[in-house]
Structures are given as C-alpha cells and as structure tokens.
Amino acid sequence: MDMNFNQHISQQFNADLEAIRNQMLSMGGLVERQVSDAIEAICSGDTSSADKIIQREDDVDDMEVNIDQECTHILVRRQPAASDLRMVLAVSRVVRDLERIGDEATKIAIHALEVANGSQASSKICHQAIRHMGTAVVKMISDALDAFARHDIGGAIEVVRNDKMVDDQYASAIRELITYMMEDPRSIGQAINILWILRAIERIGDHARNISEQVIYLVSGTDVRHSSLSEMEEQTQSDL
C-alpha cells in the first residue's frame, strides 16, 4: 500500500481534528498549572497566587466551551466515523474532566485562602500528605495527557494505577486529620478546610483517571468507564 492512511482526503478535516486535539492539550497544560499552583499556594500560604488561580478559572471555562463547540462543528460537518468519531467524543469528554479539574483547583485555592487567614497554629496540618498527593495528581494529569497525545494505552493504565495509590493516601490522610481533630477540637475549623482540600485533590485524581479511560477508548474503542483496574487490563490486553 502506497497510500497514506494518516491523512484525510479533506485537508480541512485533518486541520480541524488537529486543532481540537491541540486546544485540548493546551487546556490540559493550563489546568495542570492551576493544580500545581494551587498545591504550591497551600504549602507556601501565598494568597496572591491563590487569587490568580481563581481569576484564571474563567479562561479554563472559556476553553471548555470553545473546544466543545468545535467538536459539535466537526460532528455536524464531517459526520466522523471510527477513530475520528472516537477522537471527537474523547476530546469532548476529556475537556469536561479538565474543566472539573479546573473547578477543583479553584476550590483548593479558595480553601487555601481560608487556611491562610485562619489560625496559624493548625495551618500546617497534613501538609506532608497534601504535598505528596498534590505532586502525584499533577503528574497523573500530565501523564494522562501525554498518553492521550501518544495514543499510549500502557501510560493510561499506569495513571489508573496511580489513582488507586492516591485514593489510599487520601484514606490515610483522612485518618491523620481525624486524629488532629480529636486531639485539639480548636483545630476543627482549619481541619475541615484541609479536608476539603484533600477531597478536591482526590477528585482531581479521579478526573485524571477518567481522562486515561478516554485514552483507552480513543485507542482501542472499548469503553472502560466504571470498570476495575484488572478488568481494564484484561480488556486492553490485545491493544497493548
């Protein structure tokens, strides 16, 4: 075969698909930065950077709307099939997850401000866990996006695996937080803020997992949402 199957007959279709993919990846980059900045804001207690995060949230929302609109355009004008259809659907879903991640990052920033304005004594509770989980989810987001860009099922499954670890860390951080609250009821106010932050980080992990699931759908066509890691590995065996 001397034909190039990577190119559509319609150059514009190529360009359109490439465009939504690139916009999604740059939105991913922005969201990733939002999350890492938010984690940094808590750890350093830097309120100005937390404000910036809240402002940038609008940009993330705009990007979601724009990309989704372009997906709709492609659906209407090109009636994509097979891998093209999966690409458009996956981008549309990933964008939703990215927007949610953006929301979570904003939540973290809001709670970071509250933590910074609250009592200094208990402001450092669970910092270790937050930093740890935060770094993990930031890496998960970037890994999931990389896997998307490279059509890499192995990388996607790795992200799912990491999500499990983040969930475990979240459980132990909650236990640690409960201990704090039992020891010193005055710290409960701060602890609840920290709880919300931990919860948000854990949700970000879940969203990163969703993104990886879309990578699997994009590449293999199997919908692995709501299935366990082992099921996922089994279903994607042939595509690895």
Partner: protein, 267 residues
Amino acid sequence: MQLIENHKTTGIPLSPKAKLSARNVDVFYGDKQAIHDVSLDIGENEVIALIGPSGCGKSTFLRTLNRMNDTIDICNIKGEILLDNENIYDPKVDTVPLRARVGMVFQKPNPFPKSIYDNVAYGPRIHGLAQSRVELDETVEKSLQRAGLWNEVKDRLHAPGTGLSGGQQQRLCIARTIAVDPEVILMDEPCSALDPIATAKIEELIDDLREKYTIAIVTHSMQQAARVSQRTAYFHLGQLIEVNPTDQVFTTPQHELTEAYITGRFG
C-alpha cells in the same frame, strides 16, 4: 493499490441464520477478476450493507446473488452461492423462479412505461400468482401499501408509472419487487438518484421490510449503511475485507482498510 495476499475476511462473515450464503466466490469478466474468494452469509431478516469504493465489486457481488450477471456473456463465476442450502449456480436451477425468490431493486428507478397498476401486477401476472382479477387487485394494493405508496397513488392506479416523482418511482419499483413475494431483496444503490426526503422514506421502508424479508443493500453513502443495516461488509478491490455488526464497523473497525475508507482517508 493492490490486492492483499492471502487475505482472510476480518470479523464475522458467517451467520448462524444464513438465508443466502456465498462460498469462495470468484467472479471474472473475461480475463479480469472482479471478485476474489468471497465468503459471506446473509442472515434471515437482516439488512446487510455492502460498502466500498467504486469498482470494489460490491455491485458485481450483489448481482451474482440472483444471477443477474448471467445476461453478460463474458461473466464467469466460480464458487457456490447457496439459497436455503441449495446452490443457485447448479445447472439444474432455473433463473426464472430464482429471481422470483431473490428480487432486485436498481440504482435508477426503472418503472415500466405502463400504468402504476400494471407495473405492480406484472410480476404476479407472469408467475401466475393471482387466480382472479380480485386477487390480483388485492396483491397490488397490499404491495403498494407495504411500499408506503398506496395513499399517494390509490386514485390514479392507471396513470403511467413514469409520471411519478423519483422517490415514488423507486417505491413503485420496490412494490413491484415485493408483489412477487420474494424471500430476499437485493438493492443496488436504491437512493443514489433521490433527494434526502425520498431517501429517508426508502430507508424507513427498508427498516419495515426487514421483518419479512432478507435484504442486501449496496450503498455509496456510509451514513445510509449505518442507518439501515445490522451488519456491514466492506469490499476492497474485489476482496471482502471485513464484515462486522454495523455499530462496530462505524466506531471501531477491525481492519485498517475499513478504517481508512470510512474515515475518508481514501476512496
């Protein structure tokens, strides 16, 4: 572009409820081979869509299914085509009753230059299906009703069939085909000459007809294949590349050629 060596059809070409089965069919036009070793089952009460780029042999294959290629002298067929497990290419088989069992609808609406009534009544008449005038009237009415044309033409049954619109003509041709009560209906791009509304009506009709008949449809419109069929077969240069449930073909085709064709990367 060249043939794939040692190709074996991807997907599920066979069916447990096969009505019409092709086994290792080769078709030659003189020295040129148009179909290469195609094996495919068409299941009872299913609509199978045959898609592929122009000249891929899908129409040729469809025409082998009721021996329409017999009228072309240089056309030669190897392999077997079984209708209810009987080879239709057996020398003992007569094409006349065969074509009554396996009807055909063509690309261009081709009503006879006769009245609407006579168009539909022609098949029953030549096959002696109606014993009386009343019975014939009933057959005509039933066929037109099933083709969704009755209400539009009941007041002008004796007007010429060629005076109808394109879509009505095509439905008249379908009515004419089902008037002889076939078991299988072959459709060769039945909507290619029609506007979208007429196309939608035909597609709706195909969906209704599935309850009673087995239908094979050749189409250039992938959206149409996706809309009307349960299974889709992809032909490429006379080879049957892939057969799978339609949903699967249009979301996750197995063969790279199928993928390339339906995503518009060639063809």
